[in-house]
C-alpha cells in the first residue's frame, strides 16, 4: 500500500540574516552570506522552503592559542602567531567563506590588549581578507564592553556578526551594533526562556529581531549534545509556529566545545583502544556539527580543516 506523507503546515519562518556587505552596500566584502529563512524543520523540503544552507565559519584567534591540541595546531603550522596569515590561509588554502575572530587577546588573563589595539587589528584584518566576519569578545564582560564597541566602530559598514550579548550584559553591545550597522549574537545558557527573553530585551532597545542570531550554547558529543539539541528543536518549533521572538538563526560554537572533549584530544598512547588521535579529534568535531545541523544550526564555528571539509560535503548532500 502506498503511504501518503503527512505534511505539517507552518505559519512562521526563521528570519534571514545578511552577514557582510559588498561595495554596492557600502562595505568591502567580496560577498554577502545569507543564513536562516527556514520555513520548515531541517531538511524537510516538502513542508516549507529552506532557502539557505548552513554555513561554516573558520575560528581564528587574535593571539596564538595556548591550549589547542597538537592535532589541531598541525593544520595551521606556522601561522597561529600571525592572525593575518592565519586568516589568509583559511580563505586561500581551505576556501573559508566566513571567518570567526575570537578576540581572546583582550582578556585580562591573556595579553590584555587594549580596545584601541583590537580595533586596529580588526580594521587591518578587514583589509587582508575579503570574506564576511564574525567577531567574538574575550568573555570578560567588563573588557568586552570596552573592546567590542571599538571593534564595531572599526568595522562600521561591514555588517559583521558580533557577540556575545548575555542576559546580564547586553546593553552596551546592542547599542554599538545598532550604531554601526552590524548583527548581534545573543547567548543563553541552554535555556529557551532566557534565549527568548534576551531577544525581547535586545529588540526592546531598538535592534530589529531580524538582526539577532541565537547562540543557544551547546555541548559536544558525549557532553550534553542532546540538551542543546532539544532546546534548539523547541525554539525552532516555536519559531515555525509563529513566535517571532525566537525566530532567529542559530550559531553553534562547535570547534570550541568539541576540542574540549577528552575523546577529541587524548593521545593514542594514553588510550590505545580509542584509535589514532589524527582521526579521532576531527571526527568528534564533525559528528557534533552534523548532529547540530539536524537540530537546525545555521552557522557552525569550527576549527579542524578536515572536519570542516567533511561537514561541508555533508551539507551539500543534504541540500541536494
Amino acid at each position: 500500500m502506498a503511504g501518503e506523507l503527512m505534511l505539517e503546515k507552518w505559519s512562521g519562518a526563521v528570519s534571514v540574516i545578511n552577514i557582510g556587505s559588498t561595495k554596492e552596500e557600502g562595505g568591502t566584502r567580496s560577498r554577502v552570506i545569507q543564513v536562516g529563512g527556514e520555513a520548515a524543520l531541517p531538511f524537510l523540503f516538502q513542508e516549507g522552503v529552506i532557502p539557505h544552507k548552513p554555513v561554516i565559519a573558520f575560528e581564528i584567534w587574535d593571539t596564538a592559542p595556548a591550549d589547542w591540541p597538537q592535532e589541531l595546531t598541525k593544520s595551521y603550522a606556522g601561522v597561529l602567531a600571525n592572525p593575518f596569515v592565519w586568516a589568509q590561509m583559511c580563505v586561500k588554502e581551505y576556501k573559508a567563506e566566513l571567518l570567526c575572530i575570537k578576540l581572546q587577546g583582550a582578556h585580562p588573563d591573556f595579553t590584555d590588549k587594549s580596545p584601541d589595539e583590537e580595533a586596529k587589528f580588526i580594521s587591518q584584518l578587514l583589509k587582508k581578507v575579503d570574506v564576511p566576519l564574525i567577531i567574538l569578545g574575550c568573555g570578560d564582560d567588563t573588557k568586552d564592553n570596552l573592546v567590542l564597541p571599538a571593534c564595531c566602530e572599526a568595522a562600521k559598514g561591514e555588517r559583521c556578526l558580533v557577540g556575545s550579548a548575555v542576559q546580564d550584559n547586553y546593553k552596551t553591545l546592542t547599542a554599538a551594533v545598532l550604531a554601526d550597522g552590524h548583527n548581534i549574537i545573543a547567548e543563553s545558557p541552554i535555556d529557551i526562556n532566557i534565549a527568548k527573553q534576551l531577544n525581547i530585551l535586545i529588540s526592546d532597545m531598538g535592534l530589529p529581531l531580524e538582526r539577532i542570531v541565537i547562540n543557544p550554547t551547546i555541548g559536544a558529543l558525549g557532553y550534553g549534545l542532546e540538551y542543546a539539541y532539544s532546546i534548539m528543536e523547541r525554539a525552532r518549533l516555536a519559531a515555525l509556529a509563529g513566535d517571532k521572538t525566537v525566530a532567529s538563526p542559530f550559531i553553534c560554537l562547535v570547534g570550541q566545545e568539541s576540542w574540549r572533549a577528552k575523546e577529541a584530544k587524548a593521545l593514542m598512547n594514553e588510550f590505545p583502544t580509542w584509535g589514532p588521535e589524527s582521526e579521532r579529534g576531527a571526527i568528534w568535531e564533525a559528528v557534533t556539527a552534523t548532529a547540530l545541523i539536524q537540530a537546525g544550526a545555521d552557522i557552525l564555528v569550527m576549527r579542524h580543516p578536515r572536519a570542516i571539509e567533511k561537514v561541508n560535503k555533508y551539507i551539500e548532500e543534504l541540500m541536494k
Partner: protein, 661 residues
C-alpha cells in the same frame, strides 16, 4: 454577691473578685502572670503562691511539700478565695517570658521585630449570616434550684439537667478539676453560676464554671499564623462583633525566612522549643495588647481558633515538623483535635480551648481551608481560583464538584519582608504609586489612619496623611509596573542608567529613589533596588507559574475561570492593571478579580463563631486534592518563562502588548 480584694506582691496589684474564684484566675484578671502548664487542673504544680493574709479553701495536693505548706504555699489553681487576701508570687512561679537573656531576645527580634499594628479587618465574602451562630465556646448563665429532700439528685446531674432544659446537648464532658470544686462553688455562689461550654471534637465540654453571671462577657480570638505575618482578631462571641484586628511579623523569621529553613532549624538543639516560643510569644503579646485596649479580662477569653500553614500549626503545637520536608512529605497531623490553649502555651483563660483549621497536606494548610471557606469556592458551580499570596503562595482551583490545590514558594517580598524598604501594609506604608514618564515625577499614597466621611456618607479612608515609612506589597506592584511603563526598567528587571536625581548606584546595585529622606518618616531615602525587583520578580513568577501549571494540569485554560479571588496580607488595594502588567496575575477581564485581603483570618473567624463552619471546613479539607508541583516536569519551565516582565510569552499578556497597560 460578696466581693473580695486580692493584692499580689511583689507586683502590688490589687483586684476585686467574687467569692469562690480561685487565685489563679484572680491573678490573670489582675495581669499577674503565673505559670500554669496544666491549665488549672492542679497537676503541674507550677502555680505555687504564698498566702500572706486571708482565708482560703484549698484542695489537697502532692505538689506542695510539708515544708512548703508550713511556709504558706498553695497551688493558685486549687485555692478558692474566701476573704480579702495578700498573696506573694515567688519568682519561680512567674511566667518565663522575662527569663530570656538579652542576647536571646536580640536574636529573636533581630531585624524583624515590630510592634503589632492595627490593620483593617478582612471581610468575609459570604457575609456572616451563612453559618448558624454557635461559637467554639459559649457561656450560659444558670440559676439552679438548690437541692432539698424532694429533689436530691447530685450537683453535677443537677447542672446537666439544667443545661438540657435550655439546650439539647446529648454528650457532655467535665474535667475532674471542675467536679472537685463544684460542690463548694455552687453553694458559695448561691447556685447562680456561669458555664462555659466548649465544642470539643464532637462533644461538648463543660470547660469552666464561674460564680455569678459573666455570660455577657465571652470573647474569642481568631488567628492567621503565616510564615511571615501573624494576624489576630478579638471577637465578642455573643454579638459576633470584631473588637480589634492586629498584625505583627512572625518572630520565627529570625530563624529563617521560609518554612524549610525553619524545619531544619527545628531539628537543632532547642530549635523546636525556640520556634514554638517565638510564635506563641508573638500571639500572647498580641492577645495582651488586644485585651488591654478593649478593657477585657483575660479570664473572659475562652477560645482561640488558628488557621495556619501546616508547618506553622506544628510549631504552634510544638510538634516536630521534620517529616514535612522528607519524602513522601507527610505531616504529623492535618486534623488537630481541639485542645486546651494552655497546652500550647497560649495565655487565655487557663481552661480555654484552642482549635486549628484542618489542613490539606504538608504544604497546603488550614489557612487555605479557611480561605476556601470564606470565599465560598466549594459552594458554587462556577470555576474559581483562590490565590493566597503569602510567603508560600497557595492556589486552589475548583468549584462545588472538585477542588485542587498547589503550593509555590514565593518568598516574603509581597509581605514587605526581604526587600530593602519593605513593610507590612500598615500606617506609613506607600501603597499606591504613580510615576510620570519623561520626568519621572513620583506621586504616592501612604496608608493613613484617620478616617473621614465622604460626600455620599460612606466611610472612606483619608489617604496621604501619614508620612511614608516604607513600601508594602501593593506599593511594590505599582512601582514596578510604573517604572516599566516609564521605560526605566527593562523586562528583565534591570534599571536603565539615566542621568536623573532619582537613579543611582547603591550598595545593592542600581536603585530608584521613591521618596527622599526629607519627605519621609524614615532615617534614609525610600528606594527600590535591582535586588528588590529581582525578589519581586521571583515571587510573582512563582505565583503565576503555579497558577498556570494548575490550570494546565486540569486541562483548562484561564478563559474558563469565572472568578479569581486574591488573598494575602498586603492589603486589598492592589491595582489590577498593574498586577497584570508585571505578570503577577493572568491577563483576564478585570471584573473577574476579587480582592479578599486576609481570607484565612476571615475564615478562621467564621469557624470561631460557628460549629457549622467548622464542620464545613473539615469537609473542605477532606475534599481538596493536592498537586505536587515539584514533581511536575513542566513547572520549572513555566517558572523560568515567568521570570520576565510580564512574561516571556508576551502573547499571554495581550493588554501589555497592545499598549493598553
Amino acid at each position: 454577691m460578696e466581693k473580695f480584694k486580692i493584692t499580689f506582691y511583689p507586683d502590688n496589684k490589687t483586684i476585686e473578685v467574687e467569692k469562690g474564684k480561685n487565685i489563679l484566675s484572680a491573678a490573670i484578671s489582675a495581669g499577674v502572670y503565673i505559670n500554669s502548664s496544666c491549665g488549672g487542673d492542679g497537676v503541674c504544680g507550677r502555680c505555687k503562691v504564698i498566702l500572706k493574709k486571708g482565708q482560703v479553701i484549698t484542695q489537697p495536693t502532692g505538689r506542695i511539700s510539708l515544708d512548703e505548706r508550713k511556709k504558706g504555699f498553695y497551688l493558685a489553681c486549687l485555692t478558692t478565695i474566701q476573704s480579702d487576701l495578700d498573696v506573694e508570687v515567688p519568682s519561680e512561679s512567674r511566667l518565663d517570658l522575662e527569663k530570656l537573656s538579652p542576647e536571646e531576645i536580640d536574636l529573636r527580634l533581630k531585624g524583624l521585630y515590630s510592634e503589632s499594628e492595627e490593620v483593617e479587618p478582612p471581610e468575609s465574602i459570604l457575609g456572616e449570616e451563612i453559618f448558624v451562630h454557635s461559637p467554639l465556646a459559649t457561656k450560659l448563665y444558670l440559676e439552679l434550684p438548690p437541692p432539698d429532700l424532694e429533689d436530691k439528685i447530685s450537683d453535677l446531674e443537677r447542672l446537666y439537667r439544667q443545661i438540657r432544659r435550655i439546650q439539647d446537648i446529648p454528650i457532655m464532658q467535665t474535667g475532674l478539676s471542675n467536679i472537685r470544686r463544684l460542690g463548694e462553688l455552687l453553694r458559695a455562689s448561691d447556685w447562680k453560676i456561669t458555664l462555659t461550654l466548649g465544642k470539643r471534637n464532637g462533644t461538648t465540654e463543660l470547660v469552666l464554671i464561674e460564680p455569678g453571671n459573666t455570660s455577657h462577657k465571652n470573647f474569642g480570638l481568631a488567628f492567621d499564623i503565616g510564615t511571615t505575618t501573624i494576624s489576630g482578631q478579638l471577637v465578642d462571641l455573643n454579638t459576633k462583633k470584631v473588637l480589634g484586628t492586629k498584625a505583627t511579623y512572625n518572630k520565627q523569621a529570625s530563624f529563617g525566612s521560609d518554612i524549610i529553613t525553619r524545619i531544619i532549624y527545628a531539628q537543632e538543639q532547642d530549635g523546636l522549643e525556640k520556634l514554638h516560643h517565638a510564635v506563641i510569644d508573638g500571639m500572647n503579646q498580641m492577645i495582651q495588647e488586644l485585651i488591654h485596649e478593649h478593657n477585657i479580662d483575660l479570664n473572659d477569653v475562652n477560645c482561640i481558633l488558628c488557621a495556619g500553614n501546616t508547618t506553622m500549626v506544628h510549631l504552634l503545637l510544638r510538634v516536630d515538623p521534620t517529616y514535612i520536608r522528607r519524602q513522601p512529605y507527610v505531616p504529623v497531623a492535618n486534623f488537630v483535635p481541639t485542645i486546651r490553649a494552655s497546652e500550647a502555651g497560649i495565655k487565655i483563660n487557663p481552661r480555654g480551648l484552642l482549635s486549628c483549621v484542618p489542613g490539606i497536606s504538608s504544604y497546603v494548610g488550614g489557612d487555605v481551608t479557611a480561605g476556601v471557606l470564606s470565599c465560598g469556592l466549594d459552594s458554587t458551580e462556577d470555576l474559581s481560583i483562590l490565590i493566597d499570596i503569602g510567603t508560600n503562595g497557595e492556589i486552589v482551583l475548583g468549584n462545588r464538584d472538585f477542588l485542587i490545590s498547589a503550593s509555590a514558594s514565593a518568598g516574603p517580598a509581597f509581605e514587605g519582608s526581604g526587600v530593602s524598604c519593605g513593610m507590612r501594609s500598615s500606617r506609613g506604608a506607600i501603597q499606591k504609586v504613580k510615576i510620570t514618564p519623561g520626568d519621572f515625577q513620583v506621586t504616592y499614597n501612604t496608608i493613613g489612619t484617620s478616617t473621614a466621611l465622604s460626600a455620599d456618607g460612606e466611610r472612606s479612608r483619608t489617604i496621604g496623611e501619614a508620612k511614608p515609612h516604607g513600601i508594602c506589597g501593593s506599593g511594590y506592584i505599582d512601582i514596578i509596573a510604573q517604572v516599566l511603563r516609564a521605560g526605566l526598567l527593562d523586562k528583565n528587571g534591570k534599571i536603565k542608567m539615566l542621568k536623573h536625581r532619582r537613579i543611582r548606584d547603591g550598595e545593592y546595585g542600581r536603585e530608584f529613589v521613591l521618596a527622599f529622606k526629607e519627605e519621609t518618616d524614615s532615617t534614609s531615602d525610600i528606594v527600590i533596588t535591582e535586588v528588590d525587583i529581582e525578589n519581586i520578580k521571583r515571587a510573582k513568577a512563582a505565583i503565576y507559574s503555579a497558577t498556570a501549571a494548575l490550570v494546565k494540569y486540569m486541562a483548562l485554560d484561564f478563559s474558563k475561570i469565572k472568578k479569581i479571588f486574591i488573598a494575602g496580607g498586603f492589603g486589598t488595594c492592589i491595582d489590577t492593571d498593574n498586577a497584570i502588567s508585571i505578570g503577577l496575575l493572568p491577563d483576564l477581564d478585570r471584573s473577574k478579580f476579587i480582592f479578599v485581603g486576609n481570607s484565612s483570618l476571615a475564615g478562621a473567624r467564621a469557624i470561631l463563631l460557628s460549629y457549622e463552619a467548622m464542620k464545613q471546613a473539615n469537609e473542605i479539607a477532606k475534599k481538596i486534592t493536592y498537586f505536587e508541583l515539584s514533581v511536575e516536569p513542566g513547572y520549572m519551565d513555566e517558572y523560568m518563562a515567568a521570570l520576565f516582565f510580564p512574561h516571556t510569552d508576551l502573547s499571554k499578556f495581550p493588554s501589555t502588548k497592545e499598549g493598553r497597560l
